[in-house]
Subunit: 247 residues, 2 copies
DNA sequence: AAGTGGTCTAGACCACAAA
DNA sequence: TTGTGGTCTAGACCACTTG
């Protein structure tokens, strides 16, 4: 039954070794998709660890999406399918983290007083002014993304300058700086570049790109920063893996 | 310091109650972004639980992306930013799970013998035949997605019929049926509908849509099912929340 | 009723970071 | 050196599923 054992003198934690063993056994077909894994208590006994340690090992596989726990019933090997996938924005984060190679070019900065959907989203009256800022963010000298943002023009909050440079840029984009947001909602969509956007990004007009819309709320629960990023899928690849990849 | 206490007679686990309390205190600004949470041992003492239970409470917040643990240093409240977001395909999964309201219409099914990129992806020789299948999947009578798939035409594996209907549909798309895949890689992209695709989906030509590309491997590590889904972002919304949303 | 995962304790020791 | 998170034990009892 037990093909490999756990080396307790190793620097690798017992639960991690055990997770590796279980993952490999799933990968080799000992536990086909849909089948039930041995009970945690049985695993603990088989590998000579405590129940909590065996449980932790199974938790690793659960977090990887490889198994599903059902209380009172057992732990089952998940089937691999498209719906199990999950897309993170690490590629965006890694670009924003590389601050030495980033430049920001303000394309447009103005105060808009006419009505628009952005005022609805920000919970403002149609006549209340908002600050509109459009930026090109360049990475290693190349245009990376076009960012349009709408912010409430509020004389009681920090100055316009700091709104532009500190809150929106440092807080919203770069996670390392000062942040004033309690929460945010994001939506990812496909979009087309119009002539102006294409020129700014140095891409062909009509090119399909990602549009990443955001709405951030401050600690008073007021919607504060609405806007979106336009970015090529080549510069922000969205990849996901499901099933067993390491053995 | 401790504003709320844990009701040990409640059906809600102590760690979950404690996680709620901590989340609320972050939400109310007691622990601003970037600040350090009290040590787990301190939390355990303050709330009258064991160290393991306090640890589990903090783990809940960590999995929610609200805090970051640093060994030897402490647990810190994360700043809210775009890069923290994560997009899952639950909306796709829920449609595929609703099998009573699904219909599948085969648009095209043929064997292709001429070279093409799909053969490279599947690891085949240019002259080896592949099965091409195009399907419209309808949900509640409305076209939901267009699926194009390429599969190795292998006489030693189950018949063409079963490849078409069992493996690709049941296994790859609906996670409940039989599954023969060990792993899969997925890529999400923006795309444009051409005239034919638009007609099949009942959408305007040139509409931007999501293209979800997949490559699934069998238990012999052979690439087996390559293809993609075209689906409107309205029928498959990709939403993500960051920061504190429940208090 | 038996078996499963889920929670919890009260300790112990280790690995790492910061002063 | 001190304090932090990370691992681990050997039990206990509970909640739930299944026969």
């Amino acid at each position: 039954m037990v093909t490999k054992t756990i080396d307790k003198t190793s620097r690798m934690p017992a639960y991690a070794q055990m997770a590796d063993i279980l993952r490999a056994s799933i990968s080799q077909g000992q536990h086909p998709p849909g089948s039930r894994l041995p009970a945690e208590s049985a695993l603990a006994k088989a590998y000579g660890v405590s129940a909590m340690t065996a449980r932790q090992a199974v938790s690793v596989l659960e977090e990887e999406g490889l198994v599903r726990r059902v209380q009172g019933s057992g732990t089952y090997v998940r089937k691999v399918g498209v719906a199990a996938s999950n897309f993170g924005l690490e590629s965006l984060g890694s670009v924003f983290a590389d601050q030495d190679n980033l430049q920001v070019r303000i394309v447009k900065a103005s105060v808009k007083k006419t009505p628009g959907v952005e005022k609805e989203v920000l919970g403002l009256q149609p006549n209340q002014p908002v600050i509109v800022v459009e930026r090109i963010i360049l990475h290693q000298g190349e245009p990376f993304t076009l960012h349009i943002s709408y912010t409430n023009f509020d004389p009681t909050s920090p100055t316009v300058e700091s709104m532009l440079d500190t809150v929106v840029l440092t807080g919203l984009i770069f996670q390392e700086g000062y942040s004033n947001f309690k929460r945010g909602a994001l939506r990812l969509m496909p979009a087309l570049l119009d002539a102006r956007e294409a020129k700014l990004l140095g891409m062909p007009e009509g090119e399909p790109v990602f549009k990443l819309e955001h709405l951030f709320y401050d600690f008073d629960n007021r919607p504060t920063a609405f806007g979106w990023f336009l970015v090529s899928h080549e510069k922000m690849p969205l990849l996901s893996k499901v099933g067993v990849w390491d053995e």
